[in-house]
């Protein structure tokens, strides 16, 4: 199974587990570490796919649960898959929908068969099994196919995490069986991704990895982190997983995180990331800069004729200043959402490129130390 995906480690940091890798996919080569922007409904909010590409995106993530509800799989398959539906011809990763469904508090029921839930849109009832989640992603035609897992909240008792690990393994077995029985529909290979669960418990994490390694998938994802647990547990867990997961396959840390989180996770051998932070925070008027975050609605920017970030050549910083962006947010002009999204994504992609360069040039230890020190000294205004 793993032989399908060509993943080459191009450079390895000597002082940490950070590495530069290359995944060769039918829709393009992906340089890792890679940050995947979120395009929930088949669009990275406010942007065209061409803009997303030009900003530096290599892989886009989209949400199976949301696309299943709207526009529905039938329409996407009529287009010939999600790539053609959304106009993105690069690699796509679709999630399993599990995380969204588990967030539907009071509107879902989980048992071994799968998960029943009510749509957050109209309350209609639906049932997802591990097999159905695979079928949906065969229909979407995503390059990376996530299996259904169970992810409890960060403060769940150990017993809940144990149940989740056991169920995640059983569901992964069923998912992979279905994956093997089915074929890609649009002529491009698809790669299944198992999700390691177990919260912050080393024993459960070890067990989850061992059970999932038997399934021999070409990539492994780390779920169940950044779900409310203390920050130090996140990094301790990553250090353990870095030891347990095979080094010849990409590791995907789901739903993380801040710029500093990304640097620390890369140092711990993680290769792929997704997070709504740059895009969602942009729409809330929070901009990431080399000098810390900047909340553009703040009155201090009313007369500020400086760009959001010096030495940034994005569409926002090259042509507009803080006072104008603040005005756009104050007057609810959607151009503001878009300019802020452009800037934050460029910032994130720039950070990943900087990490790749630092690792390749053998200067990641000094680079990451300096970056994190600067980051710690910043206070969000």
């Amino acid at each position: 199974m793993s032989g399908d995906l060509a993943f080459i480690v191009r450079a390895q940091d000597s002082a940490s587990s950070a590495r530069v890798g290359e995944m060769q996919l039918s829709r393009g080569t992906v340089q890792t570490p890679v940050f995947m922007p979120v395009g929930t409904y088949g669009a990275v909010k406010t942007l065209t796919p061409h803009e997303v590409r030009d900003l530096g995106a290599q892989v886009v993530l989209s949400n199976t649960y949301h696309l299943y509800l709207r526009p529905g799989l039938e329409l996407v398959t009529r287009f010939g898959g999600l790539h053609r539906f959304m106009g993105w011809d690069g690699p796509l990763l679709t999630d399993s929908g599990g995380y969204q469904i588990f967030s539907l508090a009071g509107m879902r029921k989980i048992d071994d068969a799968g998960v029943s839930f009510r749509s957050h849109l109209d309350g209609s009832e639906h049932h997802f099994t591990p097999e159905k989640i695979i079928d949906l992603q065969r229909g979407l035609g995503s390059d990376f196919v996530m299996v259904l897992d169970e992810c409890p909240p960060g403060d769940a008792p150990l017993k809940a995490w144990r149940t989740a690990v056991e169920r995640t393994t059983r569901w992964a077995q069923r998912s992979l069986a279905r994956f093997r029985e089915t074929e890609p529909r649009y002529g491009h290979p698809q790669y299944p991704v198992c999700i390691v669960q177990g919260g912050s418990d080393p024993g459960l994490r070890r067990r989850s990895v061992e059970e999932l390694l038997e399934l021999d998938t070409p990539l492994y994802a780390v779920g169940g982190l950044a779900v409310g647990e203390p920050r130090e547990e996140l990094f301790a867990t990553l250090e353990l997983l870095d030891q347990l997961l095979p080094r010849d396959r990409p590791r995907y840390l789901m739903g993380v995180g801040t710029p500093a989180d990304l640097v620390r996770a890369v140092a711990r051998g993680m290769d792929m990331f997704d997070c709504v932070l740059p895009t969602r925070n942009a729409r809330n008027g929070q901009l990431f800069t080399a000098q810390g975050t900047l909340t553009i609605r703040n009155a201090r920017y009313r007369d500020d004729l400086d760009p959001v970030m010096e030495d940034c050549d994005c569409l926002l910083c090259a042509h507009f200043n803080r006072a104008y962006l603040r005005h756009l947010f104050n007057t609810k002009e959607t151009l503001g959402l878009r300019l802020a999204t452009v800037h934050n994504l460029k910032f994130y992609f720039g950070l990943m490129a900087a990490m790749r360069a630092a690792i390749a040039d053998g200067r990641f230890p000094a680079w990451s130390r300096a970056y994190l020190q600067t980051y710690e000294e910043q206070t969000d205004e």
Copy 2:
């Protein structure tokens, strides 16, 4: 006064009053007939100024009343004027704010001195005089400066229209006096525009024109139309004004209109237009096409893989189809608002360019007859 603006009529249709003209301004040459998109708060909604330019905009309209409230004139002058504030280096026209204020039913009081009103945002009290409106536009630095006029609703009694004409003349006199006493602040000439009032009454229109011609402004605008009166009165009034207004100066028909309205108004000698129709309707999901309007939320487009309009090379039609655009509107993705805005503006600018070419080539009579016939046969779905 009129000598300041170089307006050259390049071509005159033989069968109608349609003409192609050229206005030479310090910020660029404007080919007429011209459609001016509306950028209320210093942004054409969803678009960057570079995109507005690339779509074919020659002049952008912005709203003095809105900019006065947010961000306020002090900030705009700190930028060095509205052009630099919004990042648009082409010609700008700012309105007088009168139309917006007169729409604040129950929140404004008019007398000869000027107009008192409460902000639609926070209820704060403000007072505009004809002189203050000029001062504000000196501060904005717009290329075309509209004088304060009084515009009653379309169903107002004749007496109200007479009062409005008389007041509009007195206010225009005061406005021009202030205009002459003051200077442009940013090194570019500004051109004042008087507004002919009088509703659909030929006598009042004649009187308004005669009184305003004494002020000898380089452009004349036609207000008080498309305010609820029957359509045939609009065109009859334009035919009268075409006879009365000097042919050597541009005529600006305010707030009009549909594609067919524009063709009919050009045939009646009008040169400049503004309207929220293409941009506002775009955001409501109504697209203009050569085959009529198309309401994208309509269920009939759910599976429609055709572009919104054949032979359109706009960002929307070149890359996306109806079903995807409908999906964006259904999921409230702001990318949909933007793609629809791009298409509608391109359609409007394309219409103006087609008219200019038809007039210049001596085929406007046949072109406009065919256009209007096709238009009449279309039914909005």
